[in-house]
């Protein structure tokens, strides 16, 4: 903060508005000192106010678990029931910023039954901080967290070896843990893995480098978080534009609102609409703040097109020389999020980008034991927090890419049509062999057979298209 005072407020604001944003996930159990670590990051970046600190000191004495120290965990626990149980039971988001970056922390608990929460918190994260206790080293839970991080396609991982004070800041112990971890993490293919020895309780290597680990040549945790390059984490290669909303304020303007899921689009680009296959060119990229020459993820814009082609919500604009997979069958990693066990006969709503369709799970190929990474076959159904490789069949074709190459176009959720709960979430692996394909049955509407005259076909097609937008596909025969 001392640096800040040298700037006048206007200079500070001008600099602040240019900062980028890093979202990170923290994983570890209550005993690993995770809340203490987050509390210290917030405390040292002065995000804790005096009144909160007063309340914290009061509560630490009354119900804290940190001895004479301030119990930062109490600051983070929001809900009454959790406070009484002394554990965090959901994802909580925390915010802080330094002179160089703004941070959003997704704080998730570590127990097995809460895989669901870690998956939730990690879905938007650029980076994961995985805590281990220096005394116990890499344990089953560490492996489980790391596997989930790799499943979510998080590109940067920091293994925070905490409680180094309790092992006498031993370099030997640290190296032992690093070796264990690196052996384990290698096959998972996470591109950027770093290990940092620290003590959250005493502050070593959290914000500033500690003198008690002279053998450690790396940077402190905060410095790492401030400098890790994340600008290239988006896919800028494959242009995908799921149409979200069609804007038609008057006869002269027809715009397609959406968020650039991946790739870059430029004014004048030739684009193809999926599924129709019709091509046209981008006439303008409209925003409230003026027209743009190009747009990239995750910008939200409105595209206007040279030709009047029919594009609705759920459809996609792409470059004609770079197409996603268009298919009604796909292989995916599925995480079961519902208390209610999977019913393989159920038909779900599947939401992917802005597309909604009916879907069912046609095959469970194997379940992954997240403690051992073993594949278990012959699994009849999934329970809460279980992960499996499945084949899905959808009522209408989806436009997708493998999740590991393109998160926005490879992710989906399954919604229970009765409870409306988000029952499962999935990450697409790719298309399936044709022999494994199963068609999701689509009801037919045979117009001539129903004795409907041709002049009504247009109206019926419009009505069916609207139903399709709501997830109900009908096959029109005319």
């Amino acid at each position: 903060m001392a640096e800040k005072e040298k700037l006048n407020i206007k200079e500070f604001l001008d600099k602040d508005e240019q900062k980028d944003q890093l979202r990170f996930l923290t994983a570890g159990s209550v005993d690993d000192g995770k809340s203490t670590l987050i509390g210290r990051l917030l405390f040292d970046s002065k995000k804790i106010y005096e009144d909160q600190l007063d309340a914290l000191e009061r509560d630490s004495k009354r119900m804290g678990n940190a001895g004479d120290h301030i119990d930062y965990a109490l600051l983070l626990d929001g809900l009454k029931a959790e406070r009484e149980q002394g554990i965090t039971i959901d994802v909580a988001y925390r915010y802080f910023s330094t002179n160089n970056r703004k941070f959003i922390i997704a704080d998730t608990p570590g127990h097995e039954q809460y895989t669901r929460n870690m998956i939730t918190g990690g879905s938007t994260a650029n980076l994961a901080v995985i805590l281990v206790d220096a005394r116990t080293g890499v344990i089953t839970q560490t492996r489980r967290h790391t596997y989930l991080v790799s499943l979510l396609g998080i590109k940067h991982v920091v293994l925070a070896v905490n409680k180094m004070d309790l092992v006498g800041f031993s370099e030997e112990r640290f190296q032992e843990i690093v070796k264990d971890y690196m052996d384990f993490v290698k096959p998972l293919g996470i591109p950027d893995v770093n290990c940092i020895p620290l003590s959250a309780l005493e502050g070593d290597n959290v914000v500033a480098k500690s003198e008690r680990t002279p053998w450690y040549k790396g940077v402190s945790l905060l410095e790492f978080l401030e400098t890790v390059p994340i600008a290239n984490d988006h896919n800028f290669a494959d242009f995908r534009y799921p149409v979200q909303y069609v804007l038609r304020p008057d006869q002269n303007f027809r715009g397609f609102c959406g968020k650039i899921a991946s790739g870059v689009v430029r004014k004048g680009d030739t684009v193809m609409a999926l599924p129709s296959g019709k091509t046209t060119r981008v006439k303008s990229i409209v925003t409230y703040d003026g027209e743009l020459d190009y747009a990239f993820p995750p910008q939200c814009v409105t595209l206007t097109l040279e030709d009047e082609i029919d594009v609705s919500r759920g459809e996609m604009l792409v470059h004609p020389d770079n197409l996603p997979t268009v298919d009604r069958n796909m292989e995916a990693m599925l995480v079961w999020m519902d208390e209610e066990m999977m019913d393989v006969n159920k038909h779900f709503y599947l939401k992917q980008t802005t597309n909604l369709t009916r879907a069912h799970i046609s095959q469970i190929r194997y379940r992954v034991d997240i403690n051992t990474m073993e594949h278990i076959e012959n699994v009849p159904a999934l329970k809460l927090n279980e992960i499996a490789n499945v084949v899905l069949a959808t009522a209408k074709p989806l436009f997708f890419d493998p999740y590991q190459e393109n998160k926005p176009c490879g992710s989906f959720v399954l919604i229970d049509p009765i409870t409306n709960n988000t029952s499962a979430v999935g990450m697409i692996v790719g298309r399936v062999d044709s022999k494994e394909m199963v068609a999701e049955e689509v009801p037919e509407l045979n117009l001539p057979k129903l004795g409907i005259s041709e002049e009504h076909y247009d109206a019926i097609e419009r009505a069916c298209k609207d139903l399709e937008r709501q997830g109900i596909a009908v096959n029109i025969i005319k």
Partner: protein, 303 residues
Amino acid sequence: MSESYKLSHLKELEAESIHIIREVAAEFENPVMLYSIGKDSSVMVRLAEKAFYPGKVPFPLMHIDSKWKFKEMIQFRDEYAKKYGWNLIVESNMEAFKAGVGPFTHGSKVHTDLMKTQALLNALDKYKFDAAFGGARRDEEKSRAKERIYSFRDRFHQWDPKNQRPELWDIYNGRIHKGESIRVFPLSNWTELDIWQYIRLEKIPIVPLYFAKLRPVVNIDGQLIMPDDDRLPEKYRDKIEMKKIRFRTLGCWPLTGAIESEADTIEKIVEEMMTTTKSERTTRVIDFDQEASMEQKKREGYF
């Protein structure tokens, strides 16, 4: 390549919010944007205008008037809605108002229950809104840190923190049964500093009460209250003094404490905020009512 593919944190937050607002407009039949006239609402309203530019925002703006709001807020509300072409709905719990309910006579809890929570629930039922945008931020208060962006409410508008839908990536599950609804918080990931930065950058109009000025105040139980009409109880009337004050949050005038301040520009407000040692909500009387009070109110249907 001369092109840059990097967004600042504000532009990233803006994109996230616009995406959420459009998603609701596309998937719900009858959404509404709740408008508190505060600074966060002002930002949310501008984001909605951006989301549908050059078209009109396809849903109305609704203000729940507790009948104890600052006069300057009401004036600002009407002028803004007119200038930017918003369809503005104003609703109040007239039954309770006619019965004379107010914070001085009934206390903050009863007043808030009837004039804010109940008035809001009545209005949501009256218009059968199936989605309601609110300007709450996760960094405001502990129980909000765990709130989803789409927050599911049952037929009685209640929130169950144990029964929240998983929310991943930017895929929002807006499916509901008849009578149920979703509260949507497009500003979830914004901090107080982000809001001020954005107001400054985008030159968003806000109620002048946020800026320091010489105003009449009276000290009531440690809070600096600005008497805004003749309903100030007799016993305080001779204790009014002039002070240079401003408000960090806006609400009902007897329930919103002012702070002494010299900050009459956004730059000065941010400077004051950076060096202040008290969190934003300490000037809201409502949080001190009872332990975990905001969580309680949320369960009952207040934001």
